[in-house]
């Protein structure tokens, strides 16, 4: 048997090391990655994908750990993908979410994988969809994705997750900022964590107003749950909120809509990756690319005009269909 077949078989049989290796294979686009996905795709059962996002340090990892414990109490198997940003300077990354989840290490029915964002535009690793698929094939009934909700990551998460939980903290003064940044639009449920500290009620009132104000536009009113993840408080209410959402999603067409969104993202990601590899990658290494950059930097030519010239010279067919006249 060849390598992708062996890996696929191992993953489907619930072999942790096969999953660990498979995740690297798809993340690095190592030899056989496509064959592996092909093997697993038709046979993997769809799991419930829960996105957890919010400003840095809000207690997301602490909360994820508690949620995993709650799911495990009911015998539900869980996969966690904890995404942290890649440093734009070194290309390296410090993946620290596990620090809060180490009690889960070695526990049955829990698989945790840290992932660097690897410079993806949306702040999510471009292989995130494939990683979710592998975890589903492994048998994870719930896949939790933790991302830091700054910039574009929060938008990307809605395209992968069935439900998005936004974690905010009282008294930082940044809650209003966070809502402006788009967290209001993507939340299916708000968590006010660290409610053991003061200010939770104020934030709750503030949020209620914000949510009510947008209800007509968003077509829904995300519930607000107060927790103190560090003490395990509010978990029952949070789990009830998750259950309610899943039930409603199954009854309405929301489930199917999310499935389509996920399919849409996956298809687009695969296309963009291939188009990038076929067209852009060779061009980025070419001499004329560097020449163009020099000239744009000196303001001798506009970036738009330079792009049109590169297109015309290298991909005349594409150039012809993008001409404005």
């Amino acid at each position: 048997m060849n390598k992708p077949d062996l890996l696929a078989q191992g993953i489907q049989a619930g072999d942790e090391q096969a999953l660990a290796r498979g995740l690297s294979v798809v993340e690095n686009r190592e030899e056989g990655w496509e064959a592996l996905l092909e093997r697993l795709y038709p046979e993997s059962r769809r799991g419930f994908v829960l996105g957890v996002t919010g400003p840095p340090g809000g207690g997301k990892s602490t909360l994820v750990k508690r949620l995993v414990e709650e799911f495990r109490k009911e015998g539900v198997t869980v996969g966690v993908l904890a995404v942290d940003p890649t440093s734009p300077f070194s290309g390296g990354a410090l993946l620290g979410d596990r620090t809060r989840m180490m009690d889960l290490a070695g526990k049955e029915g829990v698989f945790i994988r840290s992932m660097a964002s690897r410079g993806a535009l949306g702040g999510l690793n471009p292989g995130i969809n494939d990683a979710v698929l592998l975890m589903e094939a492994f048998g994870s009934e719930v896949v939790i994705i933790e991302t830091v909700g700054v910039g574009q990551a929060e938008i990307a998460i809605t395209e992968v997750a069935d439900m998005v939980v936004v974690v905010l903290v009282p008294g930082q003064g940044d809650e209003v900022q966070a809502l402006k940044g788009g967290l209001l639009e993507i939340a299916d449920l708000f968590v006010i964590n660290k409610s053991d500290r003061g200010g939770a009620e104020e934030l709750e009132i503030h949020l209620q107003w914000a949510v009510a104000g947008h209800e007509a536009r968003l077509g829904r009113r995300p519930p607000i749950v107060k927790t103190a993840a560090i003490k395990g408080e509010g978990l029952g209410e949070l789990c009830a909120g998750l259950r309610e959402h899943r039930q409603r999603a199954a009854e309405t067409a929301l489930d199917e809509e999310r499935s389509r969104r996920r399919a849409d993202l996956a298809l687009r990601a695969h296309l963009e990756e291939r188009i990038g590899a076929a067209f852009l990658t060779p061009l980025l290494a070419a001499e004329e690319w560097h020449e163009a950059i020099e000239r744009i930097a000196r303001r001798e030519i506009s970036p738009g005009k330079s792009a049109r010239r590169l297109l015309r010279k290298n991909f005349p067919d594409v150039w012809r269909c993008t001409r404005e006249d």
Binding site: A20, T86, G92, T99
Partner: protein, 133 residues
């Protein structure tokens, strides 16, 4: 996308703080590696379980004193049991020479004491990872 060197940094044992481990984690990140940081008070079992799920190329164990030689050895044993001696196993901290020999015999690939520069550690990892024993 391509392969990045993945490293897991842990500090087994109950005492002390993790400043040294954090400094190393950041330095390896700045050298372009993806560093899974697991923090203080880890058992050998937790360290190895996490390292396998994270599919790391390197495990770095940090210690403030020679008191953790038993925990360090246990990590080496567990890796042997799992047949994963291909993972580069490193120790760092105040480790006396006699303990260094014991650890190297147990399967450690490198022991770094406070005099070592970060550059030496980075070079060691780049040159030695993936060389199965």
């Amino acid at each position: 996308m391509g392969k990045k060197i993945r490293v897991l940094i842990a500090k087994p044992g109950l005492d002390g703080h993790d400043r040294g481990a954090r400094v190393i984690a950041q330095a390896l990140r700045d050298a372009g590696m993806e560093v899974v940081y697991t923090g203080l008070r880890r058992t050998p079992e937790q360290v190895v379980s996490a390292a396998l799920q994270e599919d790391v190329d390197v495990i770095g164990l940090s210690s403030l004193s020679g008191a953790h030689i038993g925990l360090f050895s246990r990590v080496a044993e567990l890796l042997m049991e799992k047949k994963r001696t291909d993972i580069l196993l490193l120790g760092g901290g105040i480790i006396p020479d006699k303990d260094r020999e014991v650890l190297m015999a147990k399967g450690f690939d490198g022991i770094f004491t406070p005099g070592t520069t970060m550059k030496e550690i980075v070079t060691f990892i780049e040159e030695n990872r993936g060389t199965a024993k």
